[in-house]
C-alpha cells in the first residue's frame, strides 16, 4: 500500500498530461477525484487487513523505499482524501478558466504525493523533502489565477518556507554530525545521548512551527490563505499546512514523547497560538482571514495536546487534526459558495444568508459550532480529550486556557454567523439564491460526517482502542 499511495497519484499525474490539450480538463478532474477516492478506500480497506502482502512483496524488490504506514498515517491519508475531494469540487465550481482547473488538478496531485510521503517516512531528511515538495506545489497553487494579492501571499510563504528549510537542514546536519544518520532511529539515539542533538531537534521543531503557521511564526499564514483562490484555500487550510507542519510534529512527538522541556515548548507555543489566533480572528472583516486565524488557533489545540506528553494527548491531537480537516474544509466550501453567489467575502456586506442559502447556512453553523467544541459535534470530543489529557497530566493552567479560549472561538464564530448568515437580509442581497450542487455536496457530506462522528464517537473509540 505504501508504494501505491505514491505511484498511483504519480501515474495519474502523467496520464492526465497525455490527453490532448483541448479535451483534458474533464478527464483530469474525474481521474483526480478517482485518486482521492482510492486513497479513502485504501484506508478503509487497510482496516480489514487487505493490503498486507499481495502487492507490497512484489514491489519490494523493485523499489527499495524505506517507508512505513502506521495507524496514525491513515488519519493523514484519509484527511487528505477528504480535503482534496472538497478542493477539487470547489475548484470545478469556482475556477472559471479551463487551464487553471487542469493545472489545479496536476498541482493537487503533486502536493498529494508530498503529503502521502509525509505520512509514511521513516527518515528525517526524507520528511523534509516531502514537506518541501508539498510546499513547492502550494506556492504555485496560491498564484494559480495570478491575483495581485497572491504574489505577496505566495512570496511571504516562500520566504518563511526557506527560513524553515534552513532551520531544518541545520538540524539535519547536526544529526549527521552526532548520530551519523538521518533515520528516526539514529536521530532518537543521538538526541538521547548528546545535548547538541537536542538543540538540533529544537531547531527542527522551529522549522515545523513555521511550516504549520504557529505563533510566533504565523505572519505568512493569513496572507497566504486569503490571497489564494478559494479552492486552494480549502486545500491549504484543510490539509497542507497541517500535514507539513503539524502532522510532522505529531510524528516526532510520538518518537520523542517523553522529553520534558520539549513538552513545555509545545505547551507554551500551543497556548500562545490558541489565544493569539482566536483574539486576532475576532477582529477580522473578511471571511477567509477570519478562518485563517481560526486555523492558527485550532492548530494550537493540537500542539498543546502534544504537550501533555501522554498517549491520550497524542490520540486527541490526531483526532482533532482529522476534525479540523472536516470543519475547515466545510467552512471554506461555504465561503466559496457565498463568494460565488454574492461576489464578496467581506462580512460587512453580507447578512441573513441562511434564509437565502439554507443549506450553506446550516452546514456553516454545524462546522462553526464543531470548531468551537460544542456537543454533540465531533469537535467536542476531540477538545474534551485534549482537556482531559492536559488535566490528568497535571497541566491545569493550560487546560484552563484551552477551555476558556473555546469561548473566544465561539465568539468569533457567532460574529461570523451574525454578519453573514444569521440576521436580516440586506437589500443588496435580496436576489441571492442557493449555490449549485457542486459546492453543496462537499459541505453537506462533510457536515454530515461531523454530526455522525459526533454522535457515534463513544462507540467509535471502543473500536479504536480495541
Amino acid at each position: 500500500m505504501t508504494y501505491l499511495l505514491l505511484f498511483i497519484p504519480f501515474a495519474i499525474l502523467i496520464l492526465i498530461n497525455l490527453f490532448p490539450r483541448e479535451k483534458r480538463t474533464e478527464p483530469a478532474f474525474w481521474l483526480g477525484l478517482a485518486v482521492l477516492v482510492f486513497q479513502a478506500g485504501a484506508v478503509v480497506a487497510s482496516q480489514f487487513g487487505y493490503w498486507g502482502t499481495i502487492l507490497t512483496s512484489q514491489l519490494e524488490s523493485v523499489f527499495g523505499f524505506n517507508l512505513q504506514l502506521y495507524k496514525m498515517g491513515h488519519v493523514l491519508v484519509m484527511a487528505s482524501a477528504l480535503a482534496g475531494a472538497t478542493a477539487l469540487l470547489v475548484a470545478r465550481a469556482t475556477l472559471k478558466n479551463k487551464r487553471d482547473r487542469f493545472n489545479f488538478v496536476g498541482l493537487l496531485l503533486v502536493s498529494l504525493i508530498g503529503i502521502n510521503g509525509i505520512a509514511m517516512v521513516t527518515d528525517i531528511f526524507t520528511l523534509y523533502i516531502f514537506i518541501e515538495v508539498t510546499a513547492l506545489a502550494t506556492f504555485i497553487l496560491i498564484m494559480l489565477n495570478r491575483e495581485q494579492a497572491a504574489f505577496e501571499g505566495a512570496f511571504k510563504y516562500l520566504i518563511m518556507s526557506v527560513v524553515a528549510t534552513v532551520l531544518m537542514l541545520a538540524a539535519v546536519s547536526l544529526f549527521i554530525l552526532i548520530g551519523g544518520g538521518t533515520s528516526f532511529l539514529d536521530v532518537k539515539m543521538a538526541v538521547i545521548s548528546d545535548p547538541l542533538a537536542y538543540t538540533a531537534l529544537l531547531l527542527f521543531l522551529c522549522g515545523l512551527f513555521i511550516k504549520g503557521g504557529m505563533v510566533p511564526f504565523h505572519g505568512w499564514l493569513p496572507d497566504a490563505y486569503s490571497s489564494a483562490p478559494t479552492a486552494v484555500s480549502v486545500w491549504l487550510a484543510g490539509i497542507v499546512t497541517k500535514a507539513s507542519g503539524i502532522y510532522a510534529l505529531i510524528r516526532l512527538m510520538v518518537i520523542f514523547g517523553g522529553l520534558e522541556p520539549l513538552q513545555n515548548i509545545m505547551l507554551t507555543v500551543g497556548a500562545a497560538s490558541i489565544v493569539i489566533g482566536a483574539l486576532a480572528a475576532l477582529g477580522q472583516k473578511e471571511l477567509k482571514r477570519l478562518l485563517a486565524y481560526s486555523s492558527i488557533s485550532q492548530m494550537g489545540y493540537i500542539v498543546i495536546a502534544l504537550g501533555s506528553g501522554t498517549v491520550l494527548g497524542i490520540f486527541a491531537a490526531l483526532f482533532h487534526f482529522f476534525n479540523h480537516t472536516l470543519f475547515k474544509a466545510t467552512l471554506f466550501a461555504n465561503v466559496a459558495a457565498v463568494e460565488e453567489q454574492t461576489g464578496t467575502q467581506e462580512m460587512e456586506k453580507l447578512g441573513g444568508l441562511a434564509q437565502k442559502m439554507p443549506i450553506t447556512g446550516l452546514t456553516s453553523a454545524i462546522a462553526s459550532l464543531s470548531t468551537a467544541g460544542l456537543p454533540p459535534l465531533s469537535g467536542f470530543w476531540s477538545k474534551l480529550l485534549i482537556i482531559i489529557a492536559l488535566w490528568i497530566s497535571g497541566h491545569y493552567f493550560f487546560a484552563a486556557v484551552a477551555v476558556l479560549a473555546s469561548v473566544v472561538t465561539l465568539a468569533y464564530f457567532l460574529l461570523l454567523q451574525r454578519q453573514a448568515f444569521f440576521g436580516l437580509v440586506p437589500a443588496a442581497l435580496k436576489e441571492v439564491r442557493e449555490a449549485g450542487p457542486i459546492l453543496l455536496i462537499p459541505a453537506v457530506f462533510l457536515s454530515l460526517l461531523i454530526v455522525v462522528i459526533g454522535l457515534v464517537f463513544p462507540f467509535m473509540i471502543q473500536m479504536v482502542l480495541r
Binding site: Q355, L384, I388, W391, I392, L404, S406, L414, F422, I461
Partner: protein
C-alpha cells in the same frame, strides 16, 4: 408490563431524532408538522409519567451501555429525574400547543419547531443522564437550541441578544466542564451512580457552581435572561419559566444533594447568593415597564427561592424547593403566555401604555391573576405551599436573617405583580385596539391557571412523591 428501559430511551431520543424530521414534514404540510411536534413531546411526557409507580416503589430504572474511557452511556431514572422530566415535558407540551397559533404567521417556522422539540428532548436527556459527560452534552444542546430560538426574529438586536445568552451560558458550562474533568481526575469516572457519597473539594464545587449559576441566571450572570425576552413569547416561557433556568437548579440538586457531599459552608454561600439575587431582581421588576422583562426579572427572583430551599439542607426545604419548580413552572409559564397574548394583540410591550384590558380580554386577565397569585404565594394556590415550605426550610436551617431577606423578597413579588396587573388590566383603556387571543392560546393559559389552582388543592400528591426523592438525597443523611 412494557420494557421500562425502552421507554426511557424513547422518552429521550424520540423528541431528539423526531425533531430532525420536523423540517421535512413542514415541507409537506404545516398541520402535520405541528401535530407531530406535539405528539413527540407528549410521548416523552407519557413515557416519563409511566415511571412514577415504579420509582415511588423505590425501583429506579437504569439503562447502561458500557463504553471505554468512562464514556459509558448511562441513563438513570430516579424520583428527582422523573419529576423534572414530567414537569418540563408537560409544560413544554402546553407551550407547543400554544405556539400553533402564536407562531403561525412568522418565517422560519420549521426551524422553530425543530429547535423547540430538540430543546425538550435534550432536556429529557440531561435529566436522565447519569454520566457527567452526557449531562454536559445535553446541556450544550439546550444552549444551541436557545441560541437559534432567541434570535428567531433575526433582527440585528435579536441576534446580538441571542449571541450574548449563548456566550454567557457556554462560558459557564465550560468552566463547569473543567470541574467535571477535575472530578474525573479525582474519582476516575464520570458516572454519577458510582461517585455517590464522595466528598468534593471546594475548588471543584466552585467551578461547577459557576456553570449552574450562569445557566439559571442567578446574580452575577442574570443579565442575559431579561435580554432574551426579544424571543417569541412561547420561547421565553420555555426558556425562562419552565425549562431552561431550571436546568441549573436541577443539576444543583442532582450533584450536590443526590450525589456528592459538600461542606456546609457552601450551602450558606449559595443561600446568600440566592438571597441577593431574589432581592435585586425583585427591585428591578418593580421599576421595569416592559412586560416580558418584568416577568423575566420575576423569574430570576423566584429562582433564588428555589435555591434557598435546596441549599437549606433539610427535608422541608429540599421538598419545598422541588415543589417550587413545579408550581413556578406552571404559574410563570402561564404569565409568559398571557404576556404573549397581550403583546400580540395590544401591539406593545410597555405596560404603562396599556390599561383596561380586562374588558376586552377577560379570560386572559383571570388567568394572569391566578398565575400571579400562585407566584406571589397566596393560598390556596400551589405557589403558597412551595413558598411556605421553602421559607420554613430556611428557618429550620438556622439562617434566620437570610430567610428574612427572602420574606422581604416575597413581599416585593406581591407588589410588582399587583402593579403589573393593575397597569395592564385595570383602569382606563388607553385606546389600544385589543381583543382576546385565539381560542387555542386562551385555552392554554386557562389550563395553566387551573393547574396552578389544582396544584394547590391537591398539593399532597406531588409532596408525597417528592418526599421519596428527599429520602434518596445523600446531603440529608448526615
Amino acid at each position: 408490563m412494557m420494557n421500562k428501559e425502552a421507554l426511557l430511551l424513547a422518552a429521550i431520543f424520540a423528541p431528539i431524532f423526531g425533531a430532525l424530521i420536523l423540517p421535512l414534514l413542514g415541507r409537506v404540510s404545516q398541520g402535520l408538522r405541528n401535530n407531530t411536534a406535539l405528539a413527540l413531546v407528549a410521548l416523552s411526557c407519557l413515557c416519563s409519567l409511566s415511571f412514577i409507580p415504579s420509582v415511588m416503589g423505590g425501583k429506579n430504572i437504569i439503562f447502561s451501555f458500557a463504553l471505554p474511557l468512562s464514556l459509558s452511556l448511562t441513563f438513570y431514572a430516579d424520583t428527582l429525574a422523573v419529576f423534572m422530566a414530567v414537569v418540563s415535558s408537560f409544560i413544554g407540551a402546553i407551550i407547543v400547543l400554544y405556539s400553533f397559533d402564536y407562531i403561525s404567521h412568522y418565517d422560519n417556522q420549521n426551524e422553530y419547531y425543530l429547535m423547540v422539540v430538540l430543546f425538550l428532548g435534550a432536556m429529557m436527556g440531561l435529566v436522565y443522564s447519569a454520566n457527567l459527560i452526557y449531562l454536559f452534552l445535553f446541556w450544550e444542546i439546550t444552549a444551541i437550541a436557545c441560541w437559534r430560538l432567541i434570535g428567531f426574529y433575526r433582527g440585528q438586536r435579536d441576534v446580538l441578544k441571542a449571541d450574548k445568552a449563548f456566550l454567557v451560558t457556554v462560558f459557564g458550562a465550560l468552566v463547569m466542564l473543567i470541574g467535571f474533568v477535575a472530578i474525573f481526575q479525582q474519582t476516575g469516572t464520570f458516572n454519577l451512580i458510582i461517585m455517590r457519597g464522595q466528598v468534593l473539594p471546594d475548588i471543584i464545587v466552585a467551578l461547577i457552581l459557576f456553570g449552574i449559576l450562569s445557566k439559571s441566571a442567578t446574580l452575577p450572570f442574570q443579565t442575559w435572561l431579561p435580554d432574551a425576552g426579544v424571543a417569541p413569547s412561547p420561547v421565553t416561557a420555555l426558556l425562562h419559566a419552565a425549562v431552561l433556568v431550571k436546568i441549573g437548579v436541577y443539576v444543583f440538586a442532582r450533584l450536590f444533594l443526590m450525589t456528592f457531599m459538600i461542606s456546609s459552608s457552601w450551602h450558606a454561600t449559595v443561600m446568600m447568593i440566592a438571597g441577593a439575587s431574589a432581592l435585586v431582581a425583585a427591585g428591578a421588576a418593580l421599576v421595569e415597564t416592559d412586560i416580558k422583562r418584568l416577568v423575566a426579572y420575576s423569574t430570576i427572583s423566584q429562582i433564588g427561592f428555589i435555591f434557598l430551599g435546596l441549599a437549606a439542607g433539610n427535608m422541608v426545604g429540599a421538598v419545598g424547593g422541588l415543589l417550587y419548580i413545579l408550581m413556578h413552572g406552571l404559574a410563570k409559564g402561564g404569565l409568559f403566555l398571557c404576556a404573549g397574548i397581550i403583546e400580540q394583540n395590544a401591539k406593545t410591550k410597555d405596560i404603562t401604555r396599556m390599561g383596561g384590558l380586562i374588558r376586552t380580554m377577560p379570560v386572559t386577565a383571570m388567568a394572569f391573576l391566578f398565575c400571579a397569585f400562585s407566584v406571589m404565594g397566596i393560598p390556596p394556590l400551589g405557589g403558597f405551599f412551595s413558598k411556605f415550605m421553602v421559607i420554613s426550610g430556611g428557618i429550620k436551617s438556622g439562617e434566620i436573617w437570610l430567610t428574612l431577606v427572602f420574606i422581604v423578597g416575597a413581599f416585593m413579588t406581591i407588589l410588582y405583580l399587583f402593579r403589573a396587573f393593575t397597569l395592564i388590566f385595570l383602569g382606563e383603556s388607553k385606546g389600544y385596539p385589543s381583543r382576546e387571543g385565539s381560542k387555542m392560546m386562551v385555552a392554554c393559559v386557562a389550563l395553566l391557571a387551573i393547574l396552578s389552582l389544582a396544584g394547590g388543592l391537591l398539593a399532597n400528591y406531588p409532596i408525597g412523591f417528592l418526599k421519596t426523592a428527599g429520602y434518596q438525597m445523600v446531603g440529608l443523611l448526615k
